[in-house]
Every structure is written in C-alpha cells, then in structure tokens.
C-alpha cells in the first residue's frame, strides 16, 4: 500500500522524530483507516444487496462449481424444488434432476464450459425437467451462464417452472383439436401459422401440411385473385366479425373441389404482429337443409294456392248448376204444391231445402276462398271506425234482439278494412245469436299485450264447453243444430283465416252458461298506435 505509510524496524529506528513529522504520520494513518473501513462497508453492502436480489428473485438461481456441486440455492429454488438450501449446498446437482436425465446433464454443462460462451438458453437438445423433493417432475425453462472467480469456474443456472404454461398450452391444444370447427391462425401476411385437425380434415390436407402455406390455398381459384384485397381491408379495420357478409363463401379442398363455408374472423394482437384467428364451419349439410326447406315451402305455397284455386273454381262453377236446381225446385214448389200427392209436396220441400242449404255452403266456401283471393293490401286502419260501421250495418239485428253493444277505445292497426269488418261482424253477430235468456250485452275492447294488440269480444250468452273452443274455428263446424241456430258454420273459419292473414291469432275462452270471450291479436303498427 502506498501513500505516506512508514515502516519501522528496530535496527533502522531513526534517532529522532520531530513532532510535525509525527502529527503528519498520525493523520495519514487515520485517513487510511477511514478509507479501509468505508471500503469494507461498501463491500459488505454490495454483497448484502446482491444476496437480497438473489434471494428475492422470482426465478430459481442455482450456482454450481466445476464439480457440479451446488454453491448457491436461492429461496425461489427452495420453493421450486421443495428442498432447503442447507441440505443441497455442497451436494451434487444431480439430486435436482430426474434419474433418467442425470447422466447427460454433466456432459451438457462440460460442453457449455468448453464453448467459452458467457451465457445461453438451455434445453436446445430437448425439454428440461426438474424433480422436486417429493419426487414430482416438472418442466423447466432455463438459461446458464459461466464466470471465473478466484481461478475457479462457476456456473449459474436461472430456472423457471413452466408446468402452468405447459398445462395451458396443452389445454389450448386440446380445445383447438376438439373444436367442431376448423381453426386457423394466420400471420399478418396471411400465412398459416397453425391449423387444427378439423381444418386439415375439412380441406383434405395431411397433418402439418398447411402450416406455412398462404391462406389463399384454401380459397377457390375464382375468388383467389381478390382475396388479398379482402385481407387488406380486414387489416385496415380489424374487428371480430363474420367474413363475407352478404356473400356465399366457399372453401377449396386440396383436390380442388369446393364446399360452402361460414367463416368467423378474430383479430389477435401479439408481439409477433397482428394475427388472425379464423374459425371455419362446413355448412354443406345446412345449405342442403335450407334448400330442401325452401323447396318444401315453395311446394307448400304452390299446393296451397292450387287448393285455394280449386276451392274457388269448384265453388264458383258449382254455383251455376246449383242456381238451376234452386230456381226450378222453387218454381216446382210454387206451381205444383197441392196439385200432386202429399209425398210429392214433401219431396219438393226436401229438394228446396237441400238446394238452399247447398247454396249457402257454396256461397260461404266462396267467401272463405276469397279471404286470400280478394285480399287487399294492409293499410293503416282505425279499428274504432270499422266497428262503428259494422254496428251500424247490424242495426236491425241489434234492435230486434235488444242487444247492448259497448265499445272501448280501439287502436289503429295495419289491416284490410273490409276483412277486419268481417271479423268484427262475425264475432258480434255470434255474440248476439248465441244469447241466453238475458238481453245480449257485447263488450268490444282492445289492450296492448306482448307487443301486439289483443282485441276481445265478450258476451253474456250461452257459452260453451272449452273442449269445443278450438273446433268452432274449423270450416263448417257447428255445435248446435240448424233448427236452433241458423248458419253453415263458416263464420269463425273465415274470421280465423282473416286474422291469420293479418299475422294474428284467434281463440275463445268460454264457460258453458256464462258467456264467451273471443280474443284475436293483430301486430302493432310501428307508428300511429292509439
């Protein structure tokens, strides 16, 4: 050590030292002492800091000497391996390595030492595994570094337990592979980074064959040219959405054949750039089912139209011969009553009655067919005005039956005014016709219910058993005999057909002897609801 330091030996003792010299020596000694203390303290502090850093690190830090013996084992290493530092320090690192890898490990470290490289990631030659104190093995991600200290070489390994990450990866892979859809991940250039088995199966590729391919390989030739433009557009505005809105999409198999698909796009931002997660569903079966349904619907529409046409033509053409039968039996009855025998009168009576009944049936059948054949477009209609007109037209019926009609506030609806009038006329007429011994009282009302208007026509008449409540809406269904109540039984069938044509439902609630309430619904108009 330099400075003003003096060394004394007895034989060299100077004869005399002056006081100033002594004072200078003392000062210098004191300064030297202070510097040494400070240096020692700094060294201690720095060692302490290093130790605290090592001990508080999240990663396991293990230092080995050239003999592979552990010289440092931090807290994270204790936790990871379930071993105490005290029990492993000074012992071989082998106890931390699963038995099957032990032999190779020492060799790997020696090889590393020979490279002279300061540090590198471990596991280039295969996955690294550790073994805990309880014998449990776990996967590790590690890096190794080497330093020389005091002529000795030390190896420090920093390890991270990746069992959680590996579990997540396995879970991801399992989810990916068990997904019912084809799933692809592409990079920002549209190259396939990853494809699950379903994708390979859908497109007829072998395992792993798709990775690295441009995604255009899966696009039919005729769409391929524009596909990069679509990709670019998606990159401009990436959002989770279905691909090709409004377009029919097709996939191209390896053998060039095509199949209809539905594709969902999910942009994924990663450190490696913007990637796209693509889900592909083969909709061949659905498309076929849709076509089948469409065909079936068309057929049903056509057959319904034909049936309607048939009903119309049949009833219309039946009217002609029917007119003759009715007119001539009438003339016969008028001109020959009492001129033949009693049986002849009776038989003519039957013929007249039958002809008249047939006439009503034909007329009603025609009216039923006309619900659709003579339908007018639905227009905003004031239900109150319709009911007022209907009641006006029924003036004589109402007067003769002493009926009381009460009508609440009724809304505007989209309707064919004439047909809506027919519905109310039918219901009000029935309400009066099937009266009890009380004077008929009919209440017409409407309320908004579940997004539609529910109209009700309530009476205090004879009512009926609820088991008949559905049957009465069928064509020519009657609950009473003709002598008691007139009519062919078409009125409610027509009402039902009209209500259904307007997008509503009709039904009846009734108690025998206590009256009936007929309800029907009509969709609410978007504007002008009362």
């Amino acid at each position: 050590m330099g400075g003003g330091r003096m060394q004394f030996r007895g034989d060299q003792m100077p004869k005399a030292i002056t006081l100033p010299e002594l004072e200078a020596t003392n000062r210098s000694l004191a300064e030297e002492m202070l510097a040494r203390v400070q240096a020692e303290r700094q060294l201690r502090e720095s060692k302490d800091l290093l130790s605290r850093i090592i001990q508080s690190a999240m990663d396991a830090i293990i230092t080995l000497d050239e003999q592979q013996c552990i010289v440092l084992f931090n807290v994270a290493a204790e936790t990871m391996f379930c071993r105490r530092a005290a029990e492993v320090i000074g012992n071989s690192v082998e106890s931390l390595i699963p038995a099957r890898f032990r032999g190779q490990h020492a060799g790997h470290i020696r090889t590393f030492a020979e490279t002279g490289v300061t540090n590198r990631a471990m596991g280039k030659l295969g996955a690294i595994w550790g073994v805990r104190g309880n014998g449990e093995e776990f996967p590790i991600e590690a890096s190794i570094s080497q330093v020389e200290s005091g002529g000795k070489r030390l190896f420090t390994v920093i390890l991270r337990d990746i069992s959680e990450r590996q579990r997540a990866e396995v879970l991801f892979r399992q989810a990916l592979e068990s997904a019912p859809s084809g799933i692809l991940m592409t990079d920002e250039h549209g190259r396939i980074l990853l494809a699950n088995t379903e994708t390979e199966r859908l497109f007829g590729y072998a395992r792993g064959e798709l990775t690295g391919q441009p995604v255009e390989a899966l696009v039919p030739d005729r769409f391929r040219e524009h596909h990069p433009d679509h990709r670019a557009a998606f990159r401009q505005c990436p959002s989770k959405r279905a691909m090709g809105q409004g377009r029919d999409l097709y996939g191209r198999r390896k053998d060039g054949t095509e199949f209809p698909v539905e594709i969902g796009l999910n942009p994924v931002q990663t450190t490696a750039g913007s990637q796209v997660l693509i889900a592909i569903v083969d909709i061949t079966a659905r498309r076929r089912a849709e076509q089948e349904k469409e065909r079936y619907t068309d057929e049903l529409k056509r057959s319904n139209a034909e049936l309607e046409q048939f009903a119309y033509v049949a009833s219309h053409d039946l009217q002609e011969p029917q007119r003759m039968v009715a007119s001539y039996t009438e003339i016969l009855a008028e001109r020959y009553r009492g001129k033949l025998d009693a049986n002849a009168d009776k038989y003519i009576g039957y013929a007249v009655d039958g002809a008249q009944r047939m006439q009503r049936l034909i007329r009603d059948l025609l009216a039923y067919a006309r619900v659709n054949s003579q339908a007018k477009p639905l227009q905003p209609t004031d239900t109150s005005a319709v009911v007022v007109t209907v009641i006006g037209g029924m003036h004589s019926t109402i007067a003769s039956s002493k009926a009381e009609i009460v009508c609440g506030k009724l809304p505007m609806v989209m309707a064919d005014e004439v047909q809506l009038g027919q519905v109310f006329q039918n219901l009000i007429n029935n309400a009066i016709k099937f009266h009890s011994e009380l004077p008929p009282r009919v209440e017409v009302s409407a309320e908004a219910k579940g997004g539609e208007w529910q109209f009700s026509v309530k009476d205090n008449g004879i009512g009926m058993e609820m088991e008949n409540a559905e049957r009465i809406f069928e064509m020519f269904q009657r609950l009473h005999d003709r002598q008691q109540y007139e009519g062919t039984g078409i009125g409610l069938a027509i009402a039902k057909r009209i209500v259904e044509r307007h997008g509503g439902r009709i039904w009846c609630e009734s108690v025998a002897g206590r009256g009936s309430t007929f309800h029907f619904t009509l969709p609410m108009t978007t504007s002008g609801d009362a």
Partner: protein
C-alpha cells in the same frame, strides 16, 4: 216491348220466360242461343231476315264461339245498332268482366241471382226501368214516353 235474349243455356231461357210471364207489360221475347245467331238477328240476316229490331237486349257473356263481349263490340261499331240498350245478364261476378262490359258499351250489368224469387225481382226492375222510366230513341221506342 221486344226483348232479345242472347243465352245459350235452355234452362236460363225458360227461367227468363217464366220471369217475364208475370210481367205487367206484354213482352215479346226472342231468343238466340249463340253470339253468331245474335249478330244475324240484329242485322236481320239468314233465317232472321224478317226480325224486328229489339227494344232491349239481354246479353249473356259466356257464349260458345262469338261471346257476349264480341256481340257487344259488333253492336257498337254500327251507328244505329249502338242505340239499342244492352243489359248484361250473366253469372260472372269478375271485376274484369264488369269493367270491360261497361267499357265496350253495356248499359247495365246484372248478375243472375241464385234463386228464382230474386230473379223475378230483377226482371221486374229491368222492366220498370227500361220500359217505364227511361226515354229511349224514337227509332227504338215503341210507345211515346210522353
């Protein structure tokens, strides 16, 4: 009054005869059972060369060969014949038939009723209107309405 009935259905012809049989005005009913014959009649051709011009024509639309509308068109092409009032008497209720008939010169359109009583009522109305109420051109009218 001379009435020409153009009707191919014998039952309807008889029904009309029956209807007019109780008329208050004597009706001289002539019948042609096809459109072609009707044209011959009004133009006094062939076996109808001695026919007299009718005061009213009751014309069915649905006729074999030349149909009622064709007869109506033929009548309207002739300056004299177009003065004869024509009443369509048909079972058709089609809007198109109604509109077209008026378009080509029908004076009124009647749908054959489904029973005899109503038929009689209609014929009475026709008689009352055409024979008693309206004023017809002199060359057609048998009696002076004044």
């Amino acid at each position: 009054m001379r009435v020409l009935l153009v009707e191919d259905n014998a039952a309807d012809v008889d029904l009309t005869r029956e209807g007019f049989s109780t008329s208050s005005v004597p009706v001289d009913l002539s019948v042609t059972m096809s459109g072609a014959e009707a044209c011959d009649y009004i133009r006094k051709r062939g076996r109808h060369n001695s026919a007299t011009t009718p005061d009213l024509i009751l014309l069915d639309l649905n006729l074999p060969g030349i149909d009622g509308k064709a007869v109506l068109r033929e009548l309207n092409q002739d300056a004299k014949l177009r003065r004869i009032p024509v009443t369509i008497l048909t079972s058709s209720t089609a809007d198109r038939d109604v509109a077209e008939s008026y378009d080509i010169g029908a004076n009124c359109y009647l749908v054959k009723p489904l029973d005899f009583k109503s038929f009689q009522v209609i014929l009475r109305t026709v008689e009352k209107f055409w024979f008693d109420t309206v004023t017809l051109p002199k060359s057609l009218a048998k009696k002076d309405p004044r």
